[in-house]
Symmetry: C2
């Protein structure tokens, strides 16, 4: 297994990205190689400085960087030696099994759509966010959390399918409870979008639809997959994640709040594309990068991409 990782991606790369790679190389199961894309000279310097000679790290020289202010599509085309462009070429060519980056989300999506492309039948790929359960049960999956701000009802229906497969194969939840995020529990509640989506979802035979869920029940056992448009999901997820900082600022401690620390999750896989692609936080520190790499390993092992392809055949 070969896990591609962008060593130039994220606000504090390459330093922090390489430190994360070193940490991951010590924890990742045997048989997996971490393939780092970036400026080989700098990466090697950091590895030497840290006395790291892990045999499971491989370096591919791709010194150009697509910055946060670059136009994603243009930069992806022009910067042929950028870590993201080379990474996607290798992913498309089968030289790696997955590609992960904490760099420009826009460039990552352009890369995915230009090279490996959407799985046939998928209207819109999406990204997910993890929401903990107060009971301590397996994580709930929120989707979309930001790729598609304006969605049609059939897209929400499909998010149900994607979230169901993610919960099933990534979190190993046997028969996930899929709910629609809404502003009332009754069927007729909501805005134009959720009312129309509810109509489609209630007859679903692709997943177990359990009706509407309100945002005061995010952490409940009633739900394993929460479906919404990318605008709403992004707002809900950032509000969820902010709880970690709120707890810190108030000096309030409880293990539950640790779940809200994105460092512990790493990144989010893009659901609905033809190979595993993982996008991390721009502000990722070494721990977040390490966890993104371990998460990428888990996504590959779960065979999620194949399961999605089968479901949409």
């Amino acid at each position: 297994m070969r896990i591609g990782i962008d060593a130039m991606g994220g606000d504090f790369a390459p330093e922090v990205a390489v430190m994360g790679i070193i940490q991951a190389s010590k924890e990742i199961p045997a048989g997996a190689t971490i393939v780092a894309y970036g400026d080989a000279t700098i990466i090697e310097l950091i590895l030497q400085r840290e006395n790291c000679n892990s045999s499971n790290i491989e370096i591919i020289d791709a010194p150009e960087v697509i910055g946060m202010n670059d136009h994603p599509a243009k930069a992806f085309q022009i910067k042929q030696n950028s870590s993201i462009t080379v990474g996607f070429k290798h992913l498309h060519g089968g030289k790696i099994d997955a590609f992960a980056s904490a760099g420009s989300t826009g460039a990552m999506m352009v890369g995915a759509m230009y090279t490996i492309k959407s799985i046939q039948g998928i209207i819109r790929p999406c990204i997910t966010g993890p929401v903990p359960k107060l009971s301590g049960g397996k994580m709930t999956t929120l989707l979309d959390v930001g790729l598609n701000s304006d969605c049609k009802p059939d897209v929400l229906y499909q998010y149900g399918t994607l979230g169901n497969l993610f919960a099933k194969y990534y979190y190993e939840i046997e028969n996930p409870k899929v709910c629609l995020l809404n502003i009332g529990s009754e069927e007729e509640k909501g805005n134009l979008l959720t009312r129309a989506a509810h109509e489609l979802m209630k007859d679903s035979f692709d997943y177990k639809f359990c009706g509407n869920i309100e945002s005061n029940e995010l952490y409940s056992d009633k739900v394993d997959v929460i479906v919404c448009d990318g605008f709403t999901g992004n707002i809900v997820l950032k509000q969820v994640e902010s709880l970690y900082n709120v707890a810190q600022e108030l000096n309030v401690s409880n293990p539950f709040f640790e779940h809200f620390n994105y460092e512990n999750h790493g990144g989010t896989p893009v659901l609905g594309v033809n190979a595993p692609v993982i996008i991390g936080h721009g502000a990722s520190n070494a721990k977040a990068i390490k966890n993104m790499i371990l998460q990428t390993h888990k996504v590959i092992v779960s065979d999620l991409t194949e399961k999605i392809k089968q479901a949409f055949q």
Copy 2:
């Protein structure tokens, strides 16, 4: 000053509503009379049982109840002796200065639109939710939190004006910072609605527009008024309020979490109608009813309705 209150409104009325009225009668400033609409026999029985002979409580017999399952518009018309119908007739006729209820929100809105009506120039009245600041500063106002699930950009622009006036006269914030809730700080971020609303708001001379705010900064000092559509606002507010229960369930205590307990706020005024109307939580207990009455007093004193009328002349 005469404050109308629905004694039949809320899941635990009239018992809990009357208990709240009794508590409020002891705390409300001199010169104010609480006018209770409901079944006079039952209200008097509870007052006697509680040995309450407050001279500042007046009872208007209106024994019918508009239930949560009634069709709001039909029930408001047919149940001419319901507490809500009689209350709005009196508000319209000037017999009371405000009307508050924890009963059917639908019937309250029908009552407001049929009797006192929207202020001229207001496209859509709306309701607000309070969001605390981590610094302990004055409350931030979130609007709309549920009246209008699908909004046009000009409606969001107007929410800015309404929220600005509310923050100014109710919370006494001198020059409120008005922000648009969005999924990025940059101008071009967002969905179709927020991008168009941003275009309108950035040129506002009705209020001090301070750009986009993300949901991980809800509790910050950067903002006093947060504008969004009613679907998003309802989801954000319920997520905010759920923190109180999360803290209780985790056995985590901090004064900050008390802000999230709706009992301490009471209800929400409907902004943009021709007289003060306050809507409370259906699940209100006596403390929440008491605070709703005190809040109604404060809304009257702030002269908010008049300030809104002047702004839209």
